[in-house]
């Protein structure tokens, strides 16, 4: 029996919201207490199936709304917040792991493996996702990289992970991605039925719960959302861009939801990176590698000549029927801030209005932002 079962829809949503903001990681704690092992993976994409197949709980390390008391001293001044709070939850023992993995998403995050291993006993590593996505050899390279990761995971759990284990996990994650797509359909087609912060919380708990439980949660909640009696209001439809790594506070999304319908976004895009089912037939690691490169979304931290990000954003806006874009970037985030320039110029060229802003996961006091947003929205509504 899961905590959220036998509750009303609103109670289940409140549970998700609390869980996302809880810096004590109660679900991970419970998993450990029952003898399970935990793999923490930093943003953005990680092939969670490999950890899951070994019986580990893959947990998305994505910072936390807290003060980085100890971790602050481990870093210099000009860095984004998620780095610090992620280390903080590990150093303070709130999030206890058996393996930490970071990807070369940016210059800062790549350093985390080294910082982690100087500070914590358990192993940490970089998973070198290919950065030459257009090489004909990227997929076979990535397959080998996944095999290396699998070996390390096998050492930690003390058993081999075979192709059938992987296939079973891929099936679980295929279902998860399907259910997340359904949730996004609700957001897109009937945004008055689910607010931006509710949808976000529903997605984000996926990085904290056993994935089977997340599937069950979505299976219960998404149909219930569709039954909500809410009515369509006169709000502008927007795409939110800039949540691929550091996460905006829930409160900020709630404020956004008061004035607009967020019909699509890149929040926690790593959990939704793969866009289609990964085939169960054939070599599972090769299928995962192939899917990462060939059936995937986009983000400022992946360079692929086939996916110019500003064109992808325009496409996201078009497909979701949005009228405007909200362009956020985390403070001190090189890739996010660089991309913001390209996004803004592409939107200028396409004459699509946008609201541009920097944020921090630990920001408080939203009055100013709220006023600016309201002005932006009013200008659009009465234009």
């Amino acid at each position: 029996m899961h905590i959220w079962q036998d509750r009303t829809l609103d109670e289940a949503l409140a549970y998700c919201r609390d869980l996302v903001e809880d810096p004590e990681f109660p679900t991970v704690r419970r998993w450990r207490e029952s003898g399970g092992k935990v793999l923490g993976h930093f943003q953005v994409y990680f092939p969670e199936e490999i950890a899951h197949a070994a019986g580990m709980l893959p947990v998305k390390v994505r910072g936390a709304p807290l003060e980085a008391r100890v971790a602050e001293s481990r870093f210099g001044s000009y860095l984004c917040s998620i780095l610090k709070t992620s280390l903080e939850v590990a150093l303070s023992g709130r999030l206890d792991l058996d393996l930490f993995v970071t990807m070369p998403i940016c210059d800062a995050a790549r350093n985390l493996a080294a910082v982690w291993e100087r500070n914590l006993e358990y192993p940490s590593r970089i998973l070198y996702l290919p950065q030459n996505a257009n090489s004909a050899h990227a997929a076979s390279y990535l397959r080998k990289e996944y095999a290396r990761l699998k070996e390390q995971i096998e050492e930690i759990v003390g058993r081999e992970v075979d192709a059938d284990d992987l296939r079973r996990s891929i099936a679980v994650f295929n279902e998860n991605r399907r259910r997340l797509r359904e949730l996004y359909e609700v957001k897109r087609d009937t945004p008055w039925l689910v607010s931006a912060d509710e949808a976000y919380a529903l997605v984000a708990v996926g990085g904290l719960l056993p994935r089977e439980e997340h599937n069950a949660l979505l299976a219960a909640v998404v149909p219930a959302l569709r039954q909500r009696p809410a009515r369509k209001q006169d709000r502008i439809r927007v795409v939110f861009e800039g949540g691929f790594c550091e996460q905006p506070p829930l409160e900020l999304l709630r404020i956004l939801a008061q004035s607009c319908y967020v019909v699509d976004d890149d929040l926690l895009i790593g959990l939704r990176w793969i866009l289609e089912d990964v085939p169960l037939a054939g070599d599972p690691l090769a299928s995962l590698a192939e899917a990462y490169l060939e059936k995937s979304s986009y983000s400022p931290v992946q360079h692929d000549l086939r996916k110019p990000k500003e064109k992808m954003l325009l496409e996201r806006i078009r497909r979701s029927g949005a009228e405007a874009a909200i362009l956020f970037a985390a403070k001190m985030c090189e890739p996010g801030l660089d991309e913001q320039v390209a996004y803004a110029r592409a939107l200028d060229d396409a004459a699509i209005p946008y609201f541009i802003c920097e944020f921090e996961e630990r920001m408080t006091g939203f009055d100013h932002l709220e006023t600016q947003l309201e002005t932006f929205v009013e200008n659009l509504l009465f234009d």
């Binding site: 070369p104 210059d107 350093n111 390279y141 660089d338 991309e339």
Partner: protein, 434 residues
Amino acid sequence: MTDGNEGLVGRGIRDGSRLFRDWYEQLTAASEQGKGAAYVFVMGSMAEILRVFDLETVFPEINALQTAVRRVAHEYLNQAEEYGYSPDVCGYVKADVGIQLRGGEHPMGRIPRPTLAVLTNACNTYIKWGEIWERLYGTPVFTLDVPSSRSGRHLMVPGTAAFEDDRRYVEQQIRELIALCERVTGRKFDVDRCREVLRLTNEMSRSWKRVLELNRAVPAPFDALSDGTVYLGVLNALRGTPEGSRYFHDLVEEMEYKVANRIGTLHEETYRLVFLGVPCYPIFRRFQELFAEWGGVFVASAYLGFAGGGLHLGFQYDLDRPIESLAEGVLRSVGGVMDGVLFQDRMLVEMLDEYRADGMVYHPIKSCRTVSTGLADSRRWLAQQRDVLSLFIESDMMDKRVVSEAQLKNRIDAFFEGLATKRLRAAAGEAITT
């Protein structure tokens, strides 16, 4: 005293500055003739392939830092910020955006446009940077993916199956790069030319490694921060050329002479320092003086390793297997550079010992998360391993708005006072025990 070698001391600086100016003149000429160039980066320039196609190489990072050294960086940064770039992104990127928006106008001449850009993943910002040229000009951009060590506890080991897998991936990509160069230039790849470039790079690499080793002498023959940066310019600009090779051959001669005759830098050497981070180009000369005034000489700098693309490691290409060996060299040198940035701990301890250093100077900067992110924690770790005084100062290598000379001076003075006290105490301790 004359021994026929009067011209030797300081030759590296003189020749280096001349070669560097000549190189910019060459770039200016190329630009004026409407020729393009290959844009490359210091951490993996792939000159070994590009020279074979007679592609002029442009280093946007060097263009950028030159605007700071010549004290006009703010003009370029402002222009890029007006274009939309945040004050918090890498200043090199913004200076280049400024240069591009001004049609290549640069204090050293005129920079040709990119006909091709070759990047490595040694810095992720390279990849974001390349996207700017893609957008501005539709430049073909090639990202060479060089996976380095996955963890500091298990650094990559040449000869293992895992290393060979990575090497093969790099080799496959190099072959793709060659095909792209053939398409862009309309010329066939000439493997014998490539062998010649590899041979010249081998010579440079051997000499550069030797130059750095010679600085272990007391007194050190050159200052790794000020003189070293001049050498570094030539190392990148003329990699794989006869002039470059000759220059470093001569530099070894100069440094050997200085060591044999116990000739140090222009300043008295009272404290031997190791530099970590990126130089403070907006006040380049003054920054070094703040140390020199106290007798501080930078005997080693991690910058000379990573910003030299790993040539300091001295890897020698096997000319009988040029592409295979180039792939191995790239993996070891660019991968080695990345390891040196991310997993530098043991390397730092070795540096301290080999160079008999008295102190470490950490200079993380706003612009560069690649180099700066891990420095504070690495410093904490080092303090647990070694009784060495260190200084941690933050500023920028481009943006003078975050460079406060007065504040830097206070911190630097306090650091030297600490070094002096430590030395006195050690001397007193010795006096008591003897």
